[in-house]
Symmetry: C3
């Protein structure tokens, strides 16, 4: 069994941002030399997520609106701690904090429109993502 682990730090300029990371994940897969396996991509924070969907700017705005509608910025009990990012925690739970992707023939085995995104919900500070590829 082989494995490769990499970290990447994001520090977005906006509070919410959606960053395409397919190439970064693909590079890790290729560098690992793993032919058959799986790649785990996971946000290491509780106010950021990872998802797979289309790289289309209109859709990304739709996703942002939709997340705000279902998990709005509002007054939450969590804010008694001094934080005001309750909505970012709920957006993270809605979109999910990790994905696990198949690796076949030494490459990510994604469908034609599947792209991997880092979703920042409480930015303007350093946040880490891990990719771990495992297989043979």
């Amino acid at each position: 069994m082989k494995s490769l682990t990499r970290y990447k730090t994001f520090n977005t300029s906006k509070k919410r941002e959606y960053i395409l990371i397919t190439d970064w994940v693909r590079e890790a897969v290729r560098d690992s030399g793993i032919v058959e396996g799986m790649a785990l991509v996971s946000a290491m924070h509780i106010t950021a997520g990872i998802y797979v969907n289309d790289a289309e700017s209109g859709l990304i705005s739709d996703i942002d609106d939709w997340l705000e509608r279902l998990a709005p910025y509002s007054d939450y009990r969590h804010h008694r701690t001094g934080e005001t990012n309750g909505d970012a925690h709920l957006k993270n739970l809605l979109i999910g904090h990790e994905v696990i992707l198949p690796v076949t023939n030494g490459d990510l085995d994604l469908g034609p429109w599947q792209q991997v995104y880092y979703a920042e919900f409480d930015g303007r500070r350093p946040k880490r993502v891990i990719v771990k590829v495992m297989g043979e």
Copy 2:
């Protein structure tokens, strides 16, 4: 380490459909000869999902209604591309596009009511699903 990868193409007659695929996943696990490991089941499209829940027709209608309530068919920015399936993208994000299942003693290690479903949100065209079993 052993692995087995299989693909299956769905071409549903309805726009939205929920198809039980536990047996197909179980067959891949058994054919892999893997005794201890994990099985990744993933839709290869951005308007279809995979989930684990009950094989009960009333519940499946409830799930369909609930997805339509939280991610309704509506006018989305994404539709400027010519597509009209923005809701299907959001339903996919809500339900998730993959599950990863434990394999123990050469079989899927699911609870008594856990069944694996393919959820189609924009059907009437060929869509692929991958299962990858990995372990020893």
Copy 3:
């Protein structure tokens, strides 16, 4: 390749409950002797979930309110079966039934605030969770 599998049964006193299980998962990882790999934590029921987020009591109440708002206790078609837990199925789909966590240097590779939770949505009866650690 090594693996370790453990089960734990919860029998909550309340219908809905959120139980911190990071230590239990971490113990399995350490006992496995696995240095590099992944840990799958999965509810074996369709009315309970696993998620990663903050161990903060205000936030846990926020999450509970939010789940009830998006997947409310109500009259569902599923209830014709005699069950009255349709909401618990939908809450499970919203939060997800499993997480997969990176294992690095023999330990869970989580960010500073990431904690693993068992989320019970239809308690007062025995429910099982599986952790499976796989790697080398």
